[in-house]
């Protein structure tokens, strides 16, 4: 096990963590502002990936594909917000779970209907298809490095948006006192649609970016959705900062666990058993992390103290 391998795995962990952040940020924002738990967020991730794959396939342009992912997911988000989601804000969480579960069924089967059951492939753009040489003699795929950078830029943009802009002020006000900002003449309905579409666009972007590394297929969104839930439980609900820290923790734990836990077990067990036990434990490492955080701080690292 060399130092450069470790560093490469750290970068991989960072990359998956940042993609998770894009998912978790939208979820936590939507929960924080509207008090809504949205299971269909994974569907928006899938919609983004399919839009990107379809448009990139037609035009041959990855950038156009990304634009389509953002637009498609935001549009799908705005649409479901207007038609379904806004009827759920006043409902209890059970109704929200059920209605958004129903949306998953509709999105998944609808996508299967249009695109079929076979995975689509989204090609990494040529300019980024090779490795880049990093310091210390590390060769790292340029595309993965690029999505780390894109993810960080989007994260910075999001922090700026929430912290420094008029829209951000309204969003934060909406988290605290929606009657008051409604009384101040802010169009709450429109604010909610915008926040929902923003969250959807982030999910769609993540789906498209990850879609070029993995395959684009129906059902790709839900495992990521559940990981994003783990991120939120760890980071604390409603906190963008918590989502960021939580996402990096989960991304790193998951990636590094898969590589190093079997190695670690080999120190005390015979190799084949160690590989089995190590990889089984690696599969559940992030949930163990979540359980530990729950015991230590039930409202998450950055959540409001209950």
């Amino acid at each position: 096990m060399t130092f450069s391998l470790i560093l490469e795995q750290v970068l991989n962990g960072l990359q998956s963590g940042i993609m998770l952040f894009l998912m978790a940020a939208g979820l936590t924002l939507i929960f924080g502002v509207m008090g809504l738990i949205n299971l269909a967020h994974g569907s928006l991730y899938m919609v983004g990936a399919f839009c990107a794959a379809a448009v990139a396939g037609l035009t041959g342009s990855f950038v156009l594909g990304l634009a389509a992912a953002l637009a498609g997911a935001a549009l799908a988000g705005a649409l479901i917000e207007l038609v379904v989601i806004r009827r759920l804000y006043a409902r209890d969480h059970l109704d929200q779970v059920l209605a958004t579960f129903a949306l998953i069924l509709i999105f998944s089967e609808g996508t299967r209907w249009v695109f079929g059951s076979f995975p689509l492939y989204l090609d990494v753009p040529d300019a980024l298809s090779g490795p880049v040489a990093l310091p210390l003699g590390i060769q790292y795929p340029a595309y993965r490095l690029a999505i780390i950078v894109v993810g960080l830029v989007v994260a910075a943009g999001l922090f700026w948006l929430i912290g420094r802009t008029r829209l951000g002020i309204r969003i934060r006000a909406g988290e605290n006192d929606r009657e008051m900002i409604a009384a101040l003449g802010v169009d709450i309905g429109r604010l909610y649609t915008i926040v929902f579409a923003l969250g959807a666009a982030l999910a769609g972007l993540a789906g498209a970016l990850v879609g070029a590394i993995q395959s684009v297929q129906v059902g790709m969104g839900e495992p990521v959705l559940i990981l994003a839930f783990v991120v939120i439980v760890i980071g604390g609900i409603g906190s963008i900062k918590g989502a960021f820290i939580g996402a990096l923790l989960v991304g790193l734990t998951d990636t590094l666990g898969r590589i190093f836990l079997p190695e670690l077990f080999k120190l005390v067990m015979e190799p084949s058993a160690a590989t089995q036990a190590g990889s089984a434990l690696a599969q559940i490492a992030i949930y163990v992390l979540m359980a530990a955080v729950l015991v230590w701080r039930p409202t998450g690292l950055f959540g409001a103290r209950a």
Binding site: F31, H93, L94, L103, E222, I232, M290
Partner: protein
């Protein structure tokens, strides 16, 4: 922020429609029960074993949802991870029977144990194992409430799913096949109708337990803990303990359903742990109607019928099912029983 513990049904005045509508619900329940007895018997006469399998599937799903309904309906705990217990029940059957059929000892110390093909033993193990899992998951997740609880139970479900996939010894992603259905003393379980009888008996016991529970002191306290936890504390009871026990019981019953489901298919795989299944269990309850004793039964039967009929019409029947579910959630409070029998009343 709402606590996310569900509110159940709005109370209904003891108005002039009260007794009549309640009578209608009782009649509906009786009809459902009658159907669950007559249809399989008809299928035996008509030599339609597939119909028996279909009804058995519905009855087992109903039992799983009856289990969930103790946590959800009485306790207000929206668990989106109940497939964990279904899967544990299934793997309890799978592991015990796999060792028995392959003559590989499960453990040799303190006594040699080669697994078993006996249903009662398998059921006991399934119930205990899923109760233990529910206790542990409950202990962690009940520290939180509302939307946290939903996300955490969902996450633990995924944890078990991935663990099952990586557990190569017991089939990993492919699961395990059991060649011959397990046995029950005095019955021929290979006969579909006899196996069905066992499943129906389990469902009836589950329903009886639920019916007794909700009127017993425990159910009354649990139900109050959902509505007014501060009050429950103020009379000297601990809502957390009530919920933890409800969650444990709930998991145990769903675990039993999992063991039966595994025996129905003679197959277990990680999909028994999937989040979709957890979601579907909740859907069964809502489809039939929350706060209804027979809600899970009506919901599960409807689901299996739709799966069968709509599934035969189109491969994409989930679209229609999703749309129906959406309509029921948005506009049809009270589920199907609610449509037929009117709103739920405070039970007494």
């Amino acid at each position: 922020m709402s606590t996310g513990q569900i509110g159940g049904q709005p109370p209904n005045p003891r108005g002039i429609f009260g007794p009549k509508k309640q009578g209608r619900e009782a009649l509906l329940n009786a009809l459902v029960l009658l159907g669950l007895v007559i249809v399989p018997l008809w299928a035996v006469m008509a030599d339609e074993p597939f119909t028996i399998t279909l009804v058995t599937r519905a009855v087992i799903f109903a039992l799983a949802a009856v289990g969930l309904n103790i946590a959800l309906g009485l306790g207000g705990l929206v668990s989106l991870g109940h497939a964990v217990f279904f899967g544990i029940g299934g793997y309890a059957m799978g592991i015990l029977a796999w060792h028995a059929q392959n003559y590989v000892p499960l453990f040799e110390w303190p006594v040699l144990f080669e697994g078993t093909k006996s249903m009662p033993v398998i059921w006991a193990v399934a119930v205990l194992a899923s109760a233990l899992a529910a206790f542990c998951i409950g202990l962690l997740s009940l520290r939180t409430s509302g939307v946290y609880f939903i996300m955490i139970t969902l996450a633990f479900g995924q944890m078990f799913y991935y663990f099952a996939i990586s557990w190569a010894r017991y089939g990993g992603e492919d699961g395990m096949s059991i060649y011959v259905r397990n046995g029950f003393p005095g019955l021929n379980t290979l006969d579909p109708i006899q196996f069905y009888g066992l499943c129906l008996a389990a469902l009836l016991l589950g329903l009886l337990l639920h019916a007794r529970l909700r009127r017993a002191p425990f159910g009354l306290a649990l139900n109050a803990a959902r509505q007014a936890p501060e009050r429950v504390r103020a009379v000297g009871l601990d809502p957390l303990r009530l919920r933890l026990l409800a969650f444990t019981l709930s998991g145990a019953i769903t675990g039993l359903a999992g063991a039966l489901f595994a025996d129905l298919n003679r197959f277990v795989s990680p999909t028994m742990f999937s989040w979709q299944l957890s979601g579907e269990f909740i859907v069964f309850i809502i489809l039939g109607g929350t706060a209804r004793l027979f809600g899970p039964v009506v919901g599960a039967v409807l689901f299996v019928l739709m799966e069968h009929w709509l599934g035969a019409l189109t491969e994409y029947w989930h679209i229609g099912f999703g749309a129906l579910l959406l309509l029921i959630v948005l506009f049809g409070q009270g589920g199907v029983i609610g449509l037929i029998a009117g709103k739920a009343r405070a039970h007494d």
